[in-house]
Amino acid sequence: MSILSKLFTLLRGVATESGQKVVDANALTILDQEIRDTSTELNRAREELTKLMAQGKLAQQKMDARAGKIAEYGRYIEGALAKGDEALAREVAGRLAPLEAEQQTDQANLAQLERSIGTLKATIGKAETQLKGLRSQVDTVRATASVQRAQVAIAARSVGTGSKMGSALESLERIKQRQAETAARLEASEELQSQTGDADLERKLADAGLLQDGSSADTILARYKKPAQLDHQTVEVRQIEMPDRVPSNRS
């Protein structure tokens, strides 16, 4: 059973019962055991590797020495043949034959040994990766457990204030609330801005002598004196006063 399956089984088993602590403790126990097992395996593999590499080195030394001997016999054979001493050459060749046979056997063995070393190195690499993965899984379980304890503490703290366990839903509501408030504030400030704009315009119009105070005594008196003309004038002033609101509904 893989380590993740074990942890998952554990999580499922306990989730329906109670107590995250049990899960945390057991998960850590399982992980610690896995780490110990993998470490033991790794150490054994490393020892084995050392042994095989030592064997390989010894075999290589033995073969090197034998290669020297083979070369030496070769020179003797060449020398004997050069002198026409066929019998001597044959005697040396008789010594050389088993050496060459041994060398071939050892060569095959060494190749086999090197393959084993390669396999073992791969196994060690894999175990090291596994160990690293297990250690980071322990880190995850520990950190998750700490965070969950903190979340319990935070939830308990908010119980007194009557709110539920803080969730993204509440945050979402708060964001919407704030957006609505901001929108309202923006609207209010735009309104204020446009009022200020109107006041500015009115002041400019008054300065230019175009705006007449409709309620002043002079105006009232003038209205009684020349009603028709002044009516016309009032309309004109209104048009100047709100130029952007006029065309659509008054023309």
């Binding site: 995250q20 998750t144 700490s146 979340q151 939830a155 366990m165 969730s167 993204a168 945050s171 964001i175």
Partner: protein, 138 residues
């Protein structure tokens, strides 16, 4: 040197000192945890803990008891997860209650900028997820 929770708290606290976007507190116990209140994200509370080689960042999406149609919700979560950058949706048990969380993990060797990016992404993803999954909430 990798961050531990206290060291990370000090870094984050000094980074956000004087600002009003994030409130930071250290929930201090044998295993301290940083609690951040992200004001720009509707006061989303994010918990951060460093352990060994990892920094774990988590926030509560919704307690399972507030979800109607758990099967449909689970399906929707699995579909949202692959398109959620930098953070994951998960189900965990807090104090005996099933709770959906949004979480992310970082190397403890991550820079402060990377931690900040992860925090912002987590808060944003959580709000996005809450918005997308709203039809399933009571």
């Amino acid at each position: 040197m990798p961050h531990d929770t206290r060291g990370l708290h000090a870094l984050l606290a000094s980074h956000h000192a004087g600002g009003d976007d994030v409130s930071i507190e250290l929930i201090d116990s044998s295993d301290p945890v940083i609690n951040l209140t992200m004001h720009a994200y509707g006061d989303t509370q994010v918990q951060v803990a460093a352990s060994g080689g990892q920094i774990f960042i988590s926030t509560i999406l919704v307690p399972a008891e507030q979800v109607r149609d758990r099967d449909g919700f689970n399906d929707a979560c699995m579909r949202i997860n692959p398109i959620n950058p930098l953070s994951n949706l998960g189900l965990t048990s807090i104090d005996g209650r099933d709770v959906y969380i949004v979480f992310g993990e970082l190397s403890a060797n991550a820079s402060l900028d990377e931690v900040e990016e992860e925090l912002q992404a987590l808060a944003m993803n959580t709000i996005d997820a809450a918005q997308a999954l709203k039809p399933y909430f009571d």
